[in-house]
């Protein structure tokens, strides 16, 4: 199963990966977590659904996402 890793400190909370990008819709901006730059980082709701397509990584400008298998 692919593993999605969000680099919380690198994420700028832009939300690009959270909107109509993930085919299984498992990315959201964290409602409560805040990184040291003051951004709400993206988080994974249910990693077991990830298909490893890399779309979230591709649209991330930082990139603050890593995918492992």
């Amino acid at each position: 199963m692919p593993q999605v890793k969000i680099l919380e400190e690198v994420c700028k909370g832009c939300g690009l990966c959270c909107d109509e990008v993930c085919p299984v819709n498992i990315l959201v901006l964290s409602p409560d977590r805040i990184n040291s730059s003051g951004y709400h980082p993206a988080e994974v709701t249910d990693n077991s659904k990830c298909i490893g397509c890399g779309y979230c990584f591709k649209i991330c400008p930082e990139p603050a996402i890593e995918i492992y298998k």
Binding site: Y39, G54, K58, I59, P63, Y68
Partner: protein, 249 residues
């Protein structure tokens, strides 16, 4: 575990000083990957523009130089002609390329210089605070067109791919966008094609990329990508405007 996707070795570890959701970072990642995939990192010289990417010399993990505003194509020409063994790319915004640098880009294209231009069209002068650019859409608001671009006063936008495709010189011209995964994958393909033609010594290649500037568009990043999809692409159609390799077949 094997990494399927992650920061490419063609980028340095420096955190890029772009606004959240800015399209520049997506294009940087693609270039960073291609430097490694095409095995050209050690012999590439990149040209950083004046604009929000003025610090691109710190972001790409290859040799970089930062010339005066708009002069990327001229400086690229000099580097490429004196070091033809090097791969040379000029990264430019729309203010840089289509306003102050119009003469340089037109003549480099006409000469079919064997260089690659990566042209970020965000329809605005980003770095200086959202002034009207040659690419600003009719009716689009900017800090110097507060009622929206009035074509009677400010004229029509410059469509760079269409303009350059009127010349015999260029070998490859394409327009892509970074608003959706599909368009990002097409951008990856177009940039790979552009660098490959330079490696094969075919001549001038330019990829124009429609890119989000949420800050100066006054939108969220998500609204910005939708604005590209629903509005910008209609004015700036995506696709190949010149591909001499296909014409030669």
């Amino acid at each position: 575990m094997k990494q399927l996707f992650g920061r490419p070795a063609g980028l340095t570890d420096i955190s890029q000083r772009y606004c959240p959701g800015c399209g520049h970072g997506i294009v940087h990642r693609i270039i960073g990957e291609l430097l490694v995939k095409l095995n050209i990192r050690e012999r590439t010289i990149g040209i950083a523009p004046v604009g929000c990417s003025v610090f691109a010399d710190e972001y790409f993990n290859c040799d970089m130089i930062q010339p005066p505003h708009g002069r990327g194509p001229a400086v690229s020409t000099g580097i490429k002609r004196s070091r033809p063994d090097c791969i040379v790319f000029s990264y430019q915004g729309d203010g840089d390329l289509a306003a102050i640098g119009t003469a340089e880009i037109v003549h480099a294209a006409a000469r079919n210089e064997n260089i690659t231009i990566i042209f970020i069209n965000n329809a605005i002068f980003g770095m200086t605070g959202g002034q009207l650019a040659p690419t600003t859409l009719p009716g689009m608001k900017s800090t110097t067109s507060v009622q929206g671009r009035d074509i009677k006063k400010q004229g029509y936008p410059i469509k760079v791919c269409e303009l350059l495709s009127g010349l015999d010189g260029p070998y490859y011209l394409a327009r892509t966008a970074v608003d959706t995964p599909k368009n990002i994958i097409n951008t990856e393909k177009a940039l790979k094609t552009a660098f490959t033609y330079q490696i094969e010594e075919k001549g001038f290649s330019l990829v124009e990329i429609l890119s989000m500037c949420p800050t100066n568009w006054g939108m969220t990043p998500v609204q910005s990508k939708k604005w590209i999809e629903n509005t910008m692409v209609k004015y700036y159609p995506l696709g190949e405007y010149r591909n001499r390799a296909k014409e030669e077949k």
